[in-house]
Symmetry: C2
Subunit: 193 residues, 2 copies
Protein backbone atom coordinates (compact mmCIF):
# COMPACT_ATOMS: atom_id res chain seq x y z
CA UNK A 1 0.00 0.00 0.00
CA UNK A 2 2.74 2.41 1.02
CA UNK A 3 4.69 1.63 -2.12
CA UNK A 4 1.61 2.04 -4.29
CA UNK A 5 0.76 5.37 -2.79
CA UNK A 6 4.27 6.64 -3.31
CA UNK A 7 4.18 5.44 -6.88
CA UNK A 8 0.96 7.25 -7.66
CA UNK A 9 2.28 10.46 -6.11
CA UNK A 10 5.33 10.19 -8.34
CA UNK A 11 3.07 9.77 -11.34
CA UNK A 12 1.14 12.85 -10.36
CA UNK A 13 4.27 14.92 -9.88
CA UNK A 14 5.66 13.89 -13.23
CA UNK A 15 2.38 14.82 -14.94
CA UNK A 16 3.10 17.04 -17.95
CA UNK A 17 1.08 20.10 -18.97
CA UNK A 18 1.14 18.80 -22.56
CA UNK A 19 2.50 15.72 -24.31
CA UNK A 20 6.31 15.81 -24.34
CA UNK A 21 6.74 13.84 -27.58
CA UNK A 22 5.78 16.84 -29.74
CA UNK A 23 9.02 18.58 -28.72
CA UNK A 24 11.07 15.71 -30.13
CA UNK A 25 9.55 16.26 -33.58
CA UNK A 26 10.52 19.92 -33.96
CA UNK A 27 12.83 20.55 -36.90
CA UNK A 28 15.36 23.18 -35.80
CA UNK A 29 16.60 23.42 -39.40
CA UNK A 30 13.37 25.28 -40.21
CA UNK A 31 14.24 28.18 -37.89
CA UNK A 32 16.24 31.17 -39.20
CA UNK A 33 18.06 31.22 -35.83
CA UNK A 34 21.78 30.48 -35.99
CA UNK A 35 23.02 28.16 -33.27
CA UNK A 36 26.72 27.69 -32.62
CA UNK A 37 27.23 24.92 -31.70
CA UNK A 38 24.08 23.35 -33.20
CA UNK A 39 21.54 22.46 -30.52
CA UNK A 40 17.82 21.64 -30.45
CA UNK A 41 15.05 20.79 -27.98
CA UNK A 42 15.87 17.09 -28.41
CA UNK A 43 19.63 17.72 -28.07
CA UNK A 44 20.16 20.84 -25.97
CA UNK A 45 23.94 20.55 -25.96
CA UNK A 46 24.62 19.10 -22.50
CA UNK A 47 23.56 15.70 -21.26
CA UNK A 48 22.42 17.23 -17.95
CA UNK A 49 20.00 19.53 -19.69
CA UNK A 50 16.45 18.71 -20.83
CA UNK A 51 13.80 20.76 -22.65
CA UNK A 52 10.30 19.60 -21.75
CA UNK A 53 6.73 20.67 -20.87
CA UNK A 54 6.08 22.04 -17.39
CA UNK A 55 5.40 19.35 -14.78
CA UNK A 56 3.53 19.54 -11.48
CA UNK A 57 6.79 18.69 -9.72
CA UNK A 58 8.30 21.91 -11.04
CA UNK A 59 6.77 23.70 -8.05
CA UNK A 60 9.66 22.09 -6.14
CA UNK A 61 12.23 22.73 -8.86
CA UNK A 62 12.33 26.50 -8.68
CA UNK A 63 9.99 27.27 -11.58
CA UNK A 64 8.26 30.11 -9.72
CA UNK A 65 11.58 31.45 -8.38
CA UNK A 66 12.80 31.63 -11.98
CA UNK A 67 9.62 33.45 -13.08
CA UNK A 68 10.14 35.95 -10.27
CA UNK A 69 13.34 37.08 -12.06
CA UNK A 70 10.99 38.29 -14.80
CA UNK A 71 8.28 40.01 -12.80
CA UNK A 72 6.41 39.79 -9.51
CA UNK A 73 4.91 36.38 -8.90
CA UNK A 74 3.67 36.94 -5.35
CA UNK A 75 3.65 34.09 -2.89
CA UNK A 76 2.02 31.15 -4.69
CA UNK A 77 1.10 28.14 -2.56
CA UNK A 78 1.36 24.60 -3.86
CA UNK A 79 -2.44 24.46 -3.93
CA UNK A 80 -2.65 27.60 -6.08
CA UNK A 81 0.03 26.27 -8.42
CA UNK A 82 -1.76 22.93 -8.73
CA UNK A 83 -5.09 24.61 -9.43
CA UNK A 84 -3.63 26.86 -12.12
CA UNK A 85 -1.82 23.87 -13.68
CA UNK A 86 -5.11 21.95 -13.75
CA UNK A 87 -7.04 24.92 -15.18
CA UNK A 88 -4.47 25.44 -17.95
CA UNK A 89 -4.47 21.77 -18.81
CA UNK A 90 -8.24 21.48 -18.94
CA UNK A 91 -8.67 24.70 -20.96
CA UNK A 92 -6.00 23.57 -23.44
CA UNK A 93 -3.84 25.93 -25.47
CA UNK A 94 -1.19 26.47 -22.75
CA UNK A 95 2.29 25.26 -23.66
CA UNK A 96 4.52 26.26 -20.75
CA UNK A 97 7.94 24.87 -21.67
CA UNK A 98 11.00 24.64 -19.45
CA UNK A 99 14.69 23.77 -19.44
CA UNK A 100 15.87 21.73 -16.44
CA UNK A 101 19.38 21.30 -15.09
CA UNK A 102 19.01 17.65 -14.07
CA UNK A 103 22.19 17.68 -11.98
CA UNK A 104 20.51 19.94 -9.44
CA UNK A 105 16.82 19.42 -10.37
CA UNK A 106 16.32 23.11 -11.10
CA UNK A 107 14.39 24.91 -13.83
CA UNK A 108 16.85 27.24 -15.56
CA UNK A 109 14.76 28.50 -18.47
CA UNK A 110 11.10 28.88 -19.39
CA UNK A 111 8.82 30.25 -22.09
CA UNK A 112 5.12 29.94 -22.72
CA UNK A 113 3.26 29.50 -25.98
CA UNK A 114 -0.44 30.22 -25.75
CA UNK A 115 -2.78 29.26 -28.55
CA UNK A 116 -5.76 31.47 -29.28
CA UNK A 117 -8.70 30.07 -31.24
CA UNK A 118 -10.06 32.38 -33.95
CA UNK A 119 -12.93 32.55 -36.40
CA UNK A 120 -10.83 34.49 -38.93
CA UNK A 121 -8.61 32.72 -41.49
CA UNK A 122 -10.95 29.72 -41.65
CA UNK A 123 -11.26 29.18 -37.89
CA UNK A 124 -7.49 29.31 -37.51
CA UNK A 125 -5.30 29.53 -34.42
CA UNK A 126 -2.77 32.17 -33.41
CA UNK A 127 0.21 31.71 -31.15
CA UNK A 128 1.69 34.07 -28.57
CA UNK A 129 5.06 33.99 -26.90
CA UNK A 130 4.88 34.90 -23.21
CA UNK A 131 6.97 34.94 -20.05
CA UNK A 132 10.41 34.14 -21.44
CA UNK A 133 13.05 33.86 -18.75
CA UNK A 134 16.47 32.27 -18.46
CA UNK A 135 18.70 31.96 -15.41
CA UNK A 136 21.57 34.29 -16.27
CA UNK A 137 24.20 32.23 -14.51
CA UNK A 138 23.96 29.91 -17.57
CA UNK A 139 25.21 32.50 -20.07
CA UNK A 140 26.85 31.22 -23.25
CA UNK A 141 24.64 28.13 -23.45
CA UNK A 142 22.23 29.79 -25.97
CA UNK A 143 19.35 28.98 -23.62
CA UNK A 144 17.31 32.09 -24.50
CA UNK A 145 17.51 31.25 -28.18
CA UNK A 146 16.85 27.57 -27.47
CA UNK A 147 13.66 28.10 -25.45
CA UNK A 148 12.22 30.76 -27.80
CA UNK A 149 12.92 28.75 -30.95
CA UNK A 150 11.43 25.67 -29.28
CA UNK A 151 8.05 27.31 -28.62
CA UNK A 152 8.12 29.15 -31.97
CA UNK A 153 8.55 25.86 -33.86
CA UNK A 154 5.89 24.35 -31.60
CA UNK A 155 3.46 27.10 -32.70
CA UNK A 156 4.14 26.18 -36.35
CA UNK A 157 3.72 22.49 -35.58
CA UNK A 158 0.33 23.26 -34.00
CA UNK A 159 -0.83 25.12 -37.10
CA UNK A 160 -0.64 28.76 -35.98
CA UNK A 161 -0.98 31.15 -38.94
CA UNK A 162 0.94 33.74 -36.90
CA UNK A 163 3.10 33.82 -33.77
CA UNK A 164 3.21 37.11 -31.87
CA UNK A 165 5.12 38.70 -29.02
CA UNK A 166 5.44 42.05 -27.29
CA UNK A 167 8.91 43.20 -26.30
CA UNK A 168 11.16 45.96 -25.07
CA UNK A 169 13.24 47.98 -27.53
CA UNK A 170 16.48 46.31 -26.45
CA UNK A 171 15.13 42.85 -27.40
CA UNK A 172 14.09 43.71 -30.97
CA UNK A 173 17.41 42.59 -32.51
CA UNK A 174 17.35 39.30 -30.62
CA UNK A 175 13.84 38.45 -31.82
CA UNK A 176 14.64 39.58 -35.37
CA UNK A 177 17.50 37.09 -35.43
CA UNK A 178 14.93 34.38 -34.65
CA UNK A 179 12.56 35.37 -37.48
CA UNK A 180 10.21 37.85 -35.79
CA UNK A 181 9.42 41.12 -37.58
CA UNK A 182 8.16 44.58 -36.73
CA UNK A 183 5.49 45.22 -39.37
CA UNK A 184 5.74 48.82 -40.67
CA UNK A 185 2.80 50.90 -39.47
CA UNK A 186 1.39 47.99 -37.52
CA UNK A 187 3.64 47.13 -34.61
CA UNK A 188 2.21 48.99 -31.61
CA UNK A 189 1.57 47.14 -28.36
CA UNK A 190 -0.71 49.13 -26.05
CA UNK A 191 -1.82 48.32 -22.51
CA UNK A 192 -4.35 49.44 -19.95
CA UNK A 193 -3.50 48.57 -16.35
Amino acid sequence: MGMEKQHSMEDENSEYLYHPDILKKLDFGKSPAKFNPCISAAHPGEDWMVVRPLQRADYDKGFLQLLSQLTSTGSISRKQFDERFTQMKSAGGYYVTVIEDKRISKIIGAATLTIEQKFIHNCSVRGRLEDVVVNDTYRGKQLGKLIVVTVSLLAQELGCYKMSLDCKDKLIKFYESLGYKLEPGNSNAMNMR
Copy 2:
Protein backbone atom coordinates in the same frame (compact mmCIF):
# COMPACT_ATOMS: atom_id res chain seq x y z
CA MET B 1 -43.25 16.76 -31.02
CA GLY B 2 -42.76 19.18 -33.91
CA MET B 3 -43.28 22.14 -31.60
CA GLU B 4 -40.90 20.74 -29.04
CA LYS B 5 -38.22 20.17 -31.60
CA GLN B 6 -38.57 23.69 -32.93
CA HIS B 7 -38.36 25.03 -29.40
CA SER B 8 -35.17 23.17 -28.63
CA MET B 9 -33.59 24.39 -31.86
CA GLU B 10 -34.46 27.93 -30.89
CA ASP B 11 -32.82 27.36 -27.52
CA GLU B 12 -29.71 26.08 -29.19
CA ASN B 13 -29.55 29.00 -31.61
CA SER B 14 -29.95 31.52 -28.82
CA GLU B 15 -27.16 29.85 -26.84
CA TYR B 16 -24.67 32.47 -25.67
CA LEU B 17 -20.88 32.09 -25.69
CA TYR B 18 -20.85 33.53 -22.14
CA HIS B 19 -23.47 34.72 -19.66
CA PRO B 20 -25.06 37.95 -20.91
CA ASP B 21 -25.86 39.37 -17.46
CA ILE B 22 -22.25 40.38 -16.84
CA LEU B 23 -22.55 43.05 -19.56
CA LYS B 24 -25.42 44.71 -17.68
CA LYS B 25 -23.20 45.25 -14.65
CA LEU B 26 -20.43 47.19 -16.41
CA ASP B 27 -19.99 50.72 -15.06
CA PHE B 28 -19.26 52.96 -18.04
CA GLY B 29 -18.49 55.81 -15.63
CA LYS B 30 -15.22 53.99 -14.83
CA SER B 31 -13.93 54.35 -18.41
CA PRO B 32 -11.88 57.41 -19.43
CA ALA B 33 -13.74 57.33 -22.77
CA LYS B 34 -15.97 60.33 -23.49
CA PHE B 35 -19.34 59.43 -24.97
CA ASN B 36 -21.58 62.10 -26.46
CA PRO B 37 -24.40 61.34 -26.04
CA CYS B 38 -23.85 59.04 -23.06
CA ILE B 39 -24.31 55.39 -23.98
CA SER B 40 -23.38 52.03 -22.46
CA ALA B 41 -23.64 48.30 -23.16
CA ALA B 42 -26.96 48.24 -21.28
CA HIS B 43 -28.21 51.38 -23.08
CA PRO B 44 -26.51 51.61 -26.47
CA GLY B 45 -28.45 54.68 -27.55
CA GLU B 46 -31.08 53.21 -29.89
CA ASP B 47 -33.85 50.84 -28.90
CA TRP B 48 -33.12 48.69 -31.97
CA MET B 49 -29.56 48.11 -30.88
CA VAL B 50 -28.30 45.47 -28.43
CA VAL B 51 -24.82 44.67 -27.08
CA ARG B 52 -24.51 41.01 -26.13
CA PRO B 53 -22.31 37.88 -26.22
CA LEU B 54 -21.98 36.01 -29.50
CA GLN B 55 -24.77 33.47 -30.11
CA ARG B 56 -24.83 30.37 -32.28
CA ALA B 57 -27.57 32.02 -34.35
CA ASP B 58 -25.12 34.76 -35.34
CA TYR B 59 -23.91 32.51 -38.12
CA ASP B 60 -27.15 33.58 -39.85
CA LYS B 61 -26.89 37.20 -38.77
CA GLY B 62 -23.85 38.18 -40.77
CA PHE B 63 -21.22 37.82 -38.02
CA LEU B 64 -18.69 36.22 -40.35
CA GLN B 65 -19.46 38.69 -43.16
CA LEU B 66 -18.72 41.51 -40.70
CA LEU B 67 -15.42 39.85 -39.67
CA SER B 68 -14.47 39.58 -43.34
CA GLN B 69 -14.38 43.41 -43.46
CA LEU B 70 -11.43 43.08 -41.06
CA THR B 71 -9.42 40.30 -42.67
CA SER B 72 -9.82 37.11 -44.63
CA THR B 73 -12.22 34.66 -42.98
CA GLY B 74 -12.33 32.07 -45.75
CA SER B 75 -15.50 30.11 -46.36
CA ILE B 76 -16.64 28.85 -42.95
CA SER B 77 -19.43 26.25 -42.93
CA ARG B 78 -22.11 26.18 -40.24
CA LYS B 79 -20.49 23.02 -38.90
CA GLN B 80 -17.08 24.70 -38.61
CA PHE B 81 -18.64 27.71 -36.92
CA ASP B 82 -20.54 25.50 -34.48
CA GLU B 83 -17.42 23.49 -33.65
CA ARG B 84 -15.33 26.60 -33.01
CA PHE B 85 -18.14 28.09 -30.88
CA THR B 86 -18.26 24.87 -28.83
CA GLN B 87 -14.45 24.73 -28.49
CA MET B 88 -14.28 28.35 -27.32
CA LYS B 89 -17.07 27.81 -24.82
CA SER B 90 -15.58 24.64 -23.38
CA ALA B 91 -12.06 26.11 -23.14
CA GLY B 92 -13.41 29.24 -21.43
CA GLY B 93 -11.75 32.65 -21.63
CA TYR B 94 -13.32 33.68 -24.96
CA TYR B 95 -15.58 36.72 -24.75
CA VAL B 96 -16.69 37.43 -28.31
CA THR B 97 -19.07 40.37 -27.99
CA VAL B 98 -21.36 41.80 -30.67
CA ILE B 99 -23.74 44.65 -31.44
CA GLU B 100 -26.91 43.63 -33.28
CA ASP B 101 -29.27 45.81 -35.28
CA LYS B 102 -32.48 44.06 -34.24
CA ARG B 103 -34.54 45.72 -36.99
CA ILE B 104 -32.74 43.67 -39.60
CA SER B 105 -31.22 40.92 -37.40
CA LYS B 106 -27.67 41.79 -38.44
CA ILE B 107 -24.44 41.97 -36.47
CA ILE B 108 -23.04 45.48 -36.97
CA GLY B 109 -20.12 45.47 -34.53
CA ALA B 110 -17.87 42.95 -32.79
CA ALA B 111 -14.84 42.72 -30.53
CA THR B 112 -13.24 39.84 -28.68
CA LEU B 113 -11.75 39.75 -25.21
CA THR B 114 -9.56 36.73 -24.56
CA ILE B 115 -8.43 35.88 -21.06
CA GLU B 116 -5.02 34.31 -20.59
CA GLN B 117 -4.25 32.45 -17.38
CA LYS B 118 -0.85 33.20 -15.85
CA PHE B 119 1.38 32.05 -13.02
CA ILE B 120 2.88 35.53 -12.58
CA HIS B 121 1.22 38.15 -10.35
CA ASN B 122 -0.19 35.49 -8.02
CA CYS B 123 -1.72 33.27 -10.70
CA SER B 124 -3.41 36.27 -12.29
CA VAL B 125 -5.21 36.69 -15.61
CA ARG B 126 -4.44 39.00 -18.51
CA GLY B 127 -6.90 40.27 -21.10
CA ARG B 128 -6.39 40.88 -24.80
CA LEU B 129 -8.49 42.88 -27.22
CA GLU B 130 -8.84 41.18 -30.60
CA ASP B 131 -10.74 41.40 -33.87
CA VAL B 132 -12.50 44.74 -33.44
CA VAL B 133 -14.78 45.58 -36.36
CA VAL B 134 -17.74 47.88 -36.91
CA ASN B 135 -19.96 48.19 -39.98
CA ASP B 136 -19.00 51.60 -41.31
CA THR B 137 -22.47 52.41 -42.59
CA TYR B 138 -23.33 53.09 -38.91
CA ARG B 139 -20.91 56.00 -38.53
CA GLY B 140 -21.69 58.58 -35.84
CA LYS B 141 -23.23 56.03 -33.47
CA GLN B 142 -19.96 55.65 -31.45
CA LEU B 143 -20.10 51.91 -32.05
CA GLY B 144 -16.31 51.45 -32.19
CA LYS B 145 -15.93 53.17 -28.85
CA LEU B 146 -18.94 51.31 -27.43
CA ILE B 147 -17.72 47.82 -28.30
CA VAL B 148 -14.11 48.44 -27.22
CA VAL B 149 -15.10 50.03 -23.89
CA THR B 150 -17.53 47.17 -23.29
CA VAL B 151 -14.87 44.46 -23.54
CA SER B 152 -12.28 46.62 -21.73
CA LEU B 153 -14.61 47.02 -18.72
CA LEU B 154 -15.42 43.33 -18.99
CA ALA B 155 -11.69 42.55 -18.65
CA GLN B 156 -11.59 44.64 -15.45
CA GLU B 157 -14.74 42.95 -14.14
CA LEU B 158 -13.10 39.55 -14.72
CA GLY B 159 -10.03 40.58 -12.73
CA CYS B 160 -7.41 41.13 -15.46
CA TYR B 161 -4.32 42.90 -14.10
CA LYS B 162 -3.66 44.20 -17.62
CA MET B 163 -5.56 44.51 -20.90
CA SER B 164 -3.47 44.54 -24.08
CA LEU B 165 -3.91 45.18 -27.77
CA ASP B 166 -1.81 45.47 -30.93
CA CYS B 167 -2.74 48.20 -33.38
CA LYS B 168 -1.81 50.19 -36.47
CA ASP B 169 -0.25 53.64 -36.10
CA LYS B 170 -3.45 55.37 -37.20
CA LEU B 171 -5.43 53.83 -34.33
CA ILE B 172 -3.10 54.90 -31.49
CA LYS B 173 -5.02 58.12 -30.76
CA PHE B 174 -8.35 56.30 -30.70
CA TYR B 175 -7.12 53.73 -28.18
CA GLU B 176 -5.37 56.40 -26.10
CA SER B 177 -8.72 58.17 -25.75
CA LEU B 178 -10.09 54.94 -24.25
CA GLY B 179 -7.29 54.61 -21.67
CA TYR B 180 -4.72 52.47 -23.49
CA LYS B 181 -1.07 53.54 -23.39
CA LEU B 182 2.12 52.97 -25.32
CA GLU B 183 4.69 52.19 -22.64
CA PRO B 184 8.02 53.94 -23.40
CA GLY B 185 10.71 51.46 -24.44
CA ASN B 186 8.26 48.58 -24.18
CA SER B 187 5.60 48.82 -26.85
CA ASN B 188 6.82 46.66 -29.72
CA ALA B 189 4.51 44.08 -31.27
CA MET B 190 6.46 41.57 -33.39
CA ASN B 191 5.14 38.71 -35.51
CA MET B 192 6.38 35.65 -37.33
CA ARG B 193 4.12 34.39 -40.13
